[in-house]
Amino acid sequence: MVSGSSAEDHRYLPDSVEQAVKLLVVGAFGVGKTTLIGSVSEIAPLRTEETMTAASIGVDDLAGLAAKTTTTVAMDFGRVTLNPRLALYLFGTPGQRRFWDLWEGLAEGALGVLVIVDTRRLEDSFEVLEQLELRGLPFAVAVNHFPDTPRHHTVENLRQALDLLEETPVVMCDARQRRASLDALITLVEYVMRSAESAQEVPV
């Protein structure tokens, strides 16, 4: 490895950055997580791979194989330097419940979660929405539009179909468009601010 080449210099954050925060982008396979992250990120999305043992996936009928095999889960992420002292990371993770244990520790400290939903496969989102509500993580829902997305879906219809709380923001999105992706993230952070505020209003 040659040090000091400009390609490698581009990897790094400005030395002035003192703090990083993170948001999670969660959803089923192929729902547009990596696309959304890539449309916002200042670096080409990076990928890490994490291993899970068969036991932690909860496959109890594979007892004989558990000691020999692990499952690799890929996670894509991107980065935005928000100002000279603050960087934001966006981590895309699969939504299924069986993957959550793996990221539970690593996802701690996230500001909030953007759940991407594909209206052609709404039922794929039920599990992750339930998990987020159980864990008390603030989240917003971004509905990604694909060419064959059913048009009869309105935000109100979707809210009902997904059984969302009245307060949970739902935004329509095209993850390929930087502006639409940024708007979805802005909606999420605004919501996180509102919920943090109301959490502070504790009765005396």
Binding site: L13, L46, M75, F77, V80, L88, L106, G109
Partner: protein, 125 residues
Amino acid sequence: MTGPRGAAPADYQDTPLRPYVLTGGRARPSRNTIALDTLLVATGPASDLPVSASRQERALLRMCTRLLSLAEAAAHLELPVSVVSVLASDLVDAGRLTARTSIPPAARPDQDLLQEVLDGLRKLR
């Protein structure tokens, strides 16, 4: 990168166990302060490491000559985050690596920080 709709993409595959070996059998870091977005930077050159240091520790320290998150270091080194997090913890304990820590797990982010995030995102529009 993405397979046909509905098919399990190449993202998810079964592989033989290996990373566990790299970290001397420890699956978890010695301290719990290193997260995906923890920023790391070396305090000195990798050549300062004792001869006993592992190849992976040297590689991580070289990767962190300038500021980078744990997740980025892991991605560039093509090692799992759990492995790099153990290596980073050890190097922080040994004073070789400085960690600019992220938000503590239990803490609620304050409004000023959230406002800063919001302002930054709005400026990008």
